[in-house]
Each structure stands twice: as structure tokens, then as C-alpha cells.
């Protein structure tokens, strides 16, 4: 039982990390950023390339080195996200909001098959692997590396939450989400705030990519697709645009998958997960922590 919970939480924290960027971007410009999962993929490959360039690493140095790579990768994917917004999304800000969906899918294809052209279709395997001995905690088997990863994820998420709820930057983000024109009248540099939002969201995706690469080992050019889908699900479940909600959404999805597998078997897992989510949404139509929006008439 504790094993199931731990499995769910561990996977869920990856979902949450990717979902956060999704949620932020969705929250601010209502864009279903299909390319978000591909930034995760880009992160994984960037980390791979940096590690490759660094050359052989002694296992003792693995963790600090990985942290350095993590930061470098976050910078790279963050900038990639900013560029993406600049090129493919900003010019369409006044177009119908679903128009962005097209460029987002286009960007997703371009990133995936661009990476394929660069790195090939074969999966790659990280030179540094976090794995090793596991320990028993409360009947669940886990590894110190898993704990470190979850710790890093939680730290990143907590920092982000503070940013969005406590700072003027966060307030500006929420204001832009509601009404960009009026936000500009408040003196908010809408373009800059959106760029920064993309930077943070994409950097988080990149971080998750490196962590996944280092932990699971295998990376490939389509690895972002499925997790992008799950991140979107998690983000919505949590209450779109709501940071703690998104975290909970990611964890919940992880847990649902874990327990769904246990109760119904792997083949019905997603039916279970989605079924529960749908039922949940019909009773609570604004997600876990989504704001109750009372539209006035």
C-alpha cells in the first residue's frame, strides 16, 4: 500500500513539475501549449548533450554535476520557451485563442522532428544514471535519488508558488490573464511578463526533462508527447492557473495511475484515471483548487 502511494507520488511529482509550466502558460494566455512537453524533451536532450560534452564522470561527482547541468539546461529551455513565444505565439495574441493551438501543434512537430533530424530517431541513454540501492521506508521501497528528485521538485514548486501568489509579478500575471489591455493601463509591461512566464514554465519543463533523463536513462524525440498530455490533465484538474492546485493535480494523477493499475490492472489504468477525473469534475466543476468564478450578469 505505501509502495503504491510512493510510486504515485514519485511519478506525480514529475507530472506536477511539467504541469506547472503548462498551467502558468495556460493561465496567462489561455494557450494549450502543445509544445510544452517537447520543451521537456528538449531539456532531456540538452542535459544529455552537456553531459556528453563534459565527458566521463566519476559516480561520486554525479549529483553535484547533475545539479549544474540542471541549471544550465533550465536556462537553455527557458530561453527556448521565450523564443517560441516570441516567434509563434505573440503575433497571434489578438487572434481567436484557438488559433494559437495551430502554431503550438506546429511548434510541437517542429521541435520533435527537428530533434529527430539532429539526434536521430533512436532512443539515447544518459551517461550518468541515478539508480542504485534502495531502502525501505514504512514498507515502501525507495532510493535516496528518488528522494532528492522529489525534494528538488518540491523546492521548485514551492518557490514558484511564492512568486505567483505573493509578489507583484504574480499579481501581474493573474491580471494579464484576466485582461491584458487593462493590465497595460496599470503600467504592466505585458509582453515582458508573458516572456518571463514562458521562461519560468519552460525552465521547469527542462528541469523535469533532465531529471527524467538522469533517473530513467532513456530519452527519445517523442518522449514529451505523453507527459505533455498528462501535464495538461493535471493542470486542469488542479484548477487551471492555480499553482498549488496544479501540484496537487499532478500528484493526484500519479496516485490515480498507481492505484488504477493496482485495482484494475495496467490495461484499464487510464480508463480508471480519466473516469475518476471526469466524475470529480462533474461534482466539482472548477477543479481541485480552481477559483469559483461567479460571473455576474
Amino acid at each position: 500500500m505505501t509502495q503504491l502511494v510512493w510510486n504515485g507520488l514519485f511519478v506525480g511529482s514529475f507530472y506536477a513539475l511539467v504541469a506547472l509550466g503548462y498551467s502558468m502558460v495556460y493561465g496567462i494566455i489561455k494557450l494549450l501549449n502543445f509544445a510544452h512537453g517537447d520543451l521537456y524533451m528538449l531539456g532531456a536532450f540538452t542535459g544529455f548533450a552537456i553531459l556528453g560534452a563534459v565527458g566521463g564522470v566519476s559516480p561520486t561527482m554525479a549529483l553535484p554535476l547533475l545539479l549544474a547541468v540542471l541549471l544550465a539546461t533550465m536556462a537553455v529551455t527557458g530561453l527556448a520557451g521565450v523564443a517560441l513565444e516570441r516567434i509563434a505565439y505573440r503575433p497571434l495574441r489578438r487572434a481567436p485563442r484557438l488559433s494559437l493551438l495551430i502554431t503550438a501543434v506546429g511548434a510541437s512537430f517542429a521541435l520533435e522532428y527537428g530533434m529527430r533530424a539532429v539526434a536521430g530517431a533512436d532512443p539515447r541513454v544518459y551517461p550518468v544514471r541515478l539508480g542504485g540501492s534502495s531502502l525501505e521506508v514504512l514498507g515502501a521501497r525507495l532510493t535516496p535519488q528518488q528522494l532528492v528528485l522529489v525534494g528538488v521538485a518540491v523546492l521548485l514548486m514551492a518557490g514558484l508558488n511564492l512568486l505567483v501568489t505573493r509578489t507583484r509579478e504574480g499579481r501581474a500575471m493573474r491580471a494579464i490573464a484576466l485582461d491584458p489591455r487593462t493590465s497595460a493601463l496599470m503600467g504592466i509591461d505585458v509582453d515582458a511578463v508573458i516572456s518571463r512566464t514562458f521562461f519560468i514554465g519552460s525552465a521547469l519543463a527542462g528541469a523535469a526533462g533532465v531529471m527524467a533523463g538522469a533517473y530513467y536513462g532513456k530519452i527519445d524525440f517523442l518522449m514529451g508527447f505523453l507527459i505533455g498530455l498528462k501535464a495538461f490533465t493535471a493542470a486542469v484538474i488542479g484548477g487551471i492557473g492555480n499553482i498549488p492546485g496544479t501540484m496537487l493535480g499532478g500528484l493526484l494523477l500519479g496516485l490515480l495511475e498507481s492505484f488504477g493499475t493496482f485495482w484494475l490492472g495496467g490495461e484499464w489504468r487510464d480508463v480508471f484515471a480519466f473516469g475518476v477525473l471526469i466524475l470529480f469534475l462533474t461534482v466539482r466543476p472548477t477543479g481541485l483548487l480552481g477559483e469559483r468564478v461567479t460571473e455576474r450578469v
Binding site: N7, V11, V125, G131, Y216, K218, L222, M223, G265, G266
Partner: protein, 368 residues
């Protein structure tokens, strides 16, 4: 253009004497299975170059046309039609059963024989189509081999894991059926995983809860590598075996040498397990600067077999080629001497057991 008013649907296949013979190959070049495409097309090209270097077939050169089926039914149908339109004489492709199924009537209608190198769902031959030949062992043959080895290993409780695709599920279910017969090992769980994920710990938790001493994974190497690794990480000490979709050096890389060591595989013969194949591997390496991957040897053999059949048939006429294929007996392939059963599958399934030793799959037991 070939409009309705023009030449009609029949393409210009009335090949002249010196026209090349065109072999068509549907392979996944995009989508989830994109990694496989190049292995197969490279090996096919290698075979063609070798044959052409010796003067071709019936004095005509061979030519390869590949098309991307993306492992998707609709894309495959369009791609198959494209090959038909381009005047392909024989089809030597087909990796994903799901994508290959809808192409059967398309090639059939155009009177094009199909030698399917990799896709091996039983359903491909269930319709008893005259023009369809499988040169990969079928699911039932593989399952039989697996069961044989499991029994030989004196395993007691077996966990079957598949990825819920037709190929993989088929092998798992057939193996379970064989194990369900009284006596010997017992199948304690059949677990389906979702392909393309990274974390299979929930599935593994399920599997290990049943305390198996033998795990058989019937899907592909990408997940296979992760599953082997995660099984070991979770403390599983028993035997692991994988199906032919997982036989690739990549599996060892993904699992990591430690976790992969000693993993068994059910597989038709591969270059690595054949005495005489070292030269072939070298040739492949030299030409493409890469290791031959899964199903490269089957693709290579499909081309050679097509050439052989055309030679025997004295031309590319569909019916004659089919007759020639049915008549073949003892043609040497990686998987052993070839003969087709009445339902156009390998008479000799030729599955053997490999084992991971260091960074390759080595022959463990030929099950003869």
C-alpha cells in the same frame, strides 16, 4: 497524370526488359516506431546493392522504394497506395501489424505479392490471402518457444507483461494459454503496460506482489529496457525474458549492463547468433556506419527472398511469384532454411533462446 480518362487505375507496370524491378517497403519513419525504419531500409538496400553488384535479377536491376507508414493504419493505406501507384512489383515491408493489415487488400488488388519481414500478428494470415507471406515467426511459434524455455528453467510462477499492442498481447496470451495447461509452471499475472512511458513501477509493484520467479516481457526494447531495470531496482531476483521486439543492443544500454545481464530473449536467428554472419555485420557497419538493429536481418532476407522468387518465376507476374514462393524449400536465410506452411508462415518457426552477455545477445539454447 493518370486520370480516369487516361490509363485507368493500372499503373505502368508492363515493365520493359531493362526496366528495374521495384521492391516496395512500408516502414515506420515517423511516429512512435520511427527508430525502426532505418534499420530495415538500410538492410534492404544492402541486399539490393549486393544483388545488383552480381548483375541483378534476370538481367534487371533491383530498386527499393520506401514509404512511411508511421505505424498508423490510415497513413499506411495511403503509403501502400503510393507504392502501388509507383509501380512496385513486390512488397518487402511491414513492421507494425496494425498498419500492415489495411494494406493487405491494397497490394492484393494490385496483384503484388507481399513478403512481410517483421509484422507477425496471426491476423495477417488469418484471412488466408494468397499473396501474403510472413518470414518472421508468428506469435504462436514464439509462445511455444517461450513456454519450452520456461519449463526447461523449472520456473514455477510466471508473470507475463505486454504493452497492449496486438503483437505483444498476442504472444503474452498465447504463452499464458500454453502455461495454463496442467503441470509445470503457472502464469500468475498478465500485466499490460502503457507504451512510451518512463515509469513502470506501478506495473512492477503489481507483478512482484504475485512473487513470480520468471518475468516474460513481450513488447519492444524501449520499454523492455526500462522494465528490466526497474524490476531489478525493485529487488526482483528471478529470471527475465523478453520477446523478439526487444532484442536490440539498445535494450542493454537502457537497462544498464548490470540489470540486463542474464536477460533471456525469444528470437529467431540473428546475425549475432549465426556463425557465418560476422561478415554481414561488418558489411552493414561499413556501409551505414551503425550497428544493424532489430529486424534488419529479416528485411535483408525479405529482399533476397523476393529476388529468389522472381528468378524462379521468371518475371514479376504476381501469380507466378506467389507460386514460386510457395514452392521454395530450403532457401538459406538467417532464420534457417526456408519453407512456407500452407498458411504462408515459416514451417520452421526457428525461435531460439538468447541471453544477454556483456553488451550483446548471445545464443543460449537453440531449442532444437
Amino acid at each position: 497524370g493518370q486520370g480516369l480518362l487516361g490509363g485507368g487505375g493500372e499503373s505502368g507496370r508492363e515493365a520493359g526488359e531493362n526496366e528495374p524491378i521495384v521492391l516496395g517497403m512500408l516502414i515506420p519513419q515517423s511516429g512512435s516506431e520511427a527508430a525502426i525504419g532505418p534499420y530495415m531500409s538500410n538492410a534492404a538496400q544492402l541486399a539490393i546493392d549486393e544483388i545488383n553488384a552480381k548483375g541483378g535479377v534476370l538481367g534487371r536491376k533491383l530498386e527499393l522504394k520506401t514509404a512511411d507508414d508511421a505505424c498508423d493504419a490510415q497513413a499506411a493505406a495511403a503509403a501502400a497506395n503510393k507504392l502501388v501507384t509507383e509501380g512496385v512489383d513486390i512488397s518487402v515491408g511491414g513492421y507494425c501489424s496494425g498498419a500492415t493489415l489495411p494494406t493487405l487488400p491494397i497490394f492484393g488488388k494490385a496483384d503484388i505479392p507481399m513478403i512481410i519481414p517483421a509484422a507477425n500478428s496471426q491476423e495477417l494470415v488469418d484471412q488466408k490471402l494468397k499473396h501474403v507471406f510472413l518470414i518472421n515467426g508468428t506469435g504462436s511459434q514464439q509462445a511455444a518457444a517461450a513456454e519450452k524455455w520456461i519449463v526447461k528453467q523449472a520456473a514455477k510462477s510466471v508473470a507475463l507483461m505486454h504493452d497492449n499492442t496486438s503483437y505483444s498481447k498476442d504472444i503474452a496470451l498465447r504463452t499464458r494459454e500454453l502455461l495454463d495447461a496442467p503441470g509445470g509452471a503457472e502464469a500468475v499475472i498478465t500485466e499490460a503496460v502503457t507504451p512510451k512511458e518512463s515509469d513502470y513501477s506501478p506495473n512492477i509493484t503489481n507483478v512482484l506482489a504475485k512473487k513470480p520467479d520468471f518475468v516474460y516481457w513481450t513488447g519492444y526494447f524501449q520499454e523492455g529496457g526500462l522494465i528490466a531495470r526497474q524490476l531489478r531496482q525493485a529487488g526482483y531476483k528471478g529470471a527475465i525474458m523478453v520477446g523478439d521486439g526487444s532484442v536490440s543492443p539498445k535494450l542493454i544500454e537502457i537497462a544498464g549492463a548490470e540489470a540486463a545481464e542474464g536477460v533471456y530473449a525469444t528470437m529467431t536467428q540473428t546475425p549475432e547468433t549465426l556463425e557465418g554472419a560476422a561478415g554481414w555485420i561488418d558489411a552493414y557497419r561499413k556501409k551505414f556506419g551503425a550497428e544493424p538493429g532489430p529486424y534488419s536481418n529479416q528485411a535483408y532476407d525479405a529482399v533476397r527472398l523476393a529476388a529468389e522468387a522472381i528468378t524462379k518465376a521468371g518475371g514479376t507476374d504476381g501469380a507466378k511469384v506467389i507460386a514460386a514462393l510457395e514452392a521454395i524449400d530450403g532457401f538459406a536465410m538467417f532464420s534457417g532454411p526456408l519453407k512456407f506452411t500452407p498458411e504462408h508462415t515459416l514451417a520452421n518457426g526457428g525461435f531460439q533462446i538468447l541471453v544477454v552477455k556483456g553488451d550483446t545477445f548471445a545464443l543460449q539454447d537453440s531449442l532444437r
